[in-house]
């Protein structure tokens, strides 16, 4: 065990995989000389050279498409898209090529790429540097979406993703980059498609991921003082998400809150809450509640942004409302 930040944990995972497997290479904007906008690739350029840690032109569509092409012929590319908001510029490559490659040619090809990207708001980043984008990609069969909440999971899941044969969108919430935690040393992997019970409880289930997991845990801690026992399920893999763990938890508690930073309409929160309603209706003592971002673009002004993004207090209130139902 070693105490390290989320960024250091990601860096460690990349270092381990690059040392072990020559097919693994990184490409992205300013990931080489500069070490990445958030420092995730720092030191790797010096250690592995510019061929394996490639600074690219500002060409997101070509970055992802090139990664897919290289993956088809046996490489293990880990492209970085600096901000998740920029995924719109390479959306077609992710949705129409990476995610469909295996199916479209009936198994002849595969596209094992891991797209790392910085997501989420809360910093006055403005409308083009703050979004939670998982909802943009929920409707894409063939794609895996991952969003860890702890340094341990960040490292273990990034290793698992690089070893996985499917295309992965790996979301790194910017608010978590400086979060520190205990991380196992050396190579290990945290399984994909498996949620984690971050806190056990009996009265209500909160399904969360990434930064919302921390907000949910903080809410749970305060609610414990009111004798409310909250279970927090950290999804970790957002697509395909672990229905079994979620449904078992809700069957136990009979109440569910789904917390997601993205706008409420048509996102991960919608899918999780709809699935609970469909599959777990007879266990529910109250309607499923969603705690999500407001249905607006994210404004620059911090006081406005604070109104839009869901937090611990919103989750607490939702729990209290659900219990009062």
């Amino acid at each position: 065990m070693k105490r390290m930040s989320f960024v250091q944990a990601l860096n460690d995972a990349l270092d381990i995989m690059m040392a072990e497997d020559e097919r693994v290479f990184l490409l992205g904007e300013d990931i080489g000389h500069m070490g990445g906008d958030f420092g995730v690739t720092r030191g790797l350029f010096t250690k592995y050279g510019g061929e394996r840690v490639r600074d690219t032109p500002l060409s997101e569509a070509a970055i992802i498409g090139t990664a897919v092409g290289a993956a088809m012929v046996g490489m293990r590319p880990v492209p970085e898209i600096m901000f998740a908001d920029f995924l719109g510029t390479c959306y077609d490559q992710i949705v129409n090529n990476a995610a469909k490659m295996h199916y479209m040619f009936d198994g002849q090809f595969k596209a094992p790429i891991v797209i790392r990207t910085a997501a989420g708001g809360g910093f006055g980043g403005g409308p083009h540097h703050s979004q939670s984008v998982e909802g943009w990609f929920m409707n894409v069969p063939g794609l895996v979406i991952v969003g860890p909440s702890t340094p341990q999971d960040a490292k273990g899941m990034l290793i698992a993703c690089i070893e996985n044969d499917n295309p992965v969108l790996f979301l790194e919430h910017k608010a978590l980059y400086r979060v520190r935690g205990d991380v196992d040393e050396g190579k290990f992997s945290v399984p994909l498609r498996k949620a984690h019970i971050a806190r056990e409880g009996t009265d209500v289930t909160i399904v969360a991921s990434m930064k919302m997991t921390h907000e949910a845990l903080a809410a749970a801690e305060e609610l414990a003082a009111e004798n409310i026992s909250v279970e927090v399920v950290d999804l970790r893999t957002l697509r395909p998400w672990d229905t079994q763990t979620v449904l078992e938890s809700v069957a136990k508690t009979g109440r569910a809150i789904v917390a997601n930073e993205a706008p409420k309409m048509g996102g991960l929160g919608s899918d999780v809450s709809a699935t609970i309603a469909e599959e777990c209706f007879s266990h529910l003592k109250a309607p499923v509640k969603r705690v999500c971002g407001l249905d607006t673009p994210i404004p620059f002004s911090v006081p406005l942004e604070k109104v839009i993004l869901p937090n611990k207090d919103d989750i607490k209130k939702a729990v209290q409302d659900t219990l009062a139902h």
Partner: protein, 329 residues
Amino acid sequence: MAGPNKETLLDWYRQMVLIRDFEETCYQLYQEKRITGVYLHLYSGHEAIGVAAVANMHIGKDHIITAYRDHGIALALGVDAKPVMAEMMGKSTGTSGGKGGSMHIASKNHNFWGGYAIVGGHLPLAAGIALEAQYNNTGAAVISFIGDGATNNGYFHETLNMAGAWKLPVVWIIENNGYGMGTDIDIAAGNPILHQRALGYGIKDMERVDGQDVFKMYDTVQHAMEHARNGHGSVLIEAITYRYRGHGVSDKQYDTRMADELAEWKANKDPITLLRSKLVERYKNVEHDLSKLEADAKKAVAESVEFAENSPLPDTLEYLMSNIYVGQG
């Protein structure tokens, strides 16, 4: 220079008539609703380009990728016509098991990385395939076709720039048939002399070549492949050609709308007729060989139709759901 020998030239002729016969049969089957689905993009008129490109490949080592006008490439590479035709009909015996269709033919064994139907979307894939060749120093080159229409979208710019910056071993062949769907390249491009764009990307400009002349095409691609294989980076070729059918066969007004141009190209610039006359001029008594190749092509295509029609339709949920994810679903 000796150039290709008689045997090679006859093989080019074989491929070209096979492609033409296959495509025209597809056209007919589509009218009869024996090929279902809406979209079918035929290679008739373009044959010399695909055949000359494939003739310059070391099959199994070099790579090739294209857009949705992809049947001809598969056939030139030697992919059996039967599974190609089965794919047209959505059968489980098709090259993509009926999941891809006409626009998504591929053959891993031939390093044919597929046909793609988002215009320009396959260009960065070609760059990535070339990156692997460069990274592992395999000495392979990649051939990537580009429709003239695709030169006007962002993929062309982003990818050719990256290929130039990284000296990726790709031979980019623009198949300029004059129209992006129905829109004339002259009104779609600020500068319709497409090969000149190479200058902006720092890649070798091999200028315009007559895409109906298989000899000229062959020589041009040969030089281009040498350039790419020898570590000098990408090459851009603009092959001038013509489409005998609409963008897709669903364009029912095509023959009427384009009647004059079509007649002109078919009469004077047909790639198969041009090769045939060269062969007749060059080799005594070659007519018999040519007739036999034409008959063989008809037979092979007829057999492919029989195979495809007798193949089962994929019909189980299990089959439908397979290969969405690699491994665990």
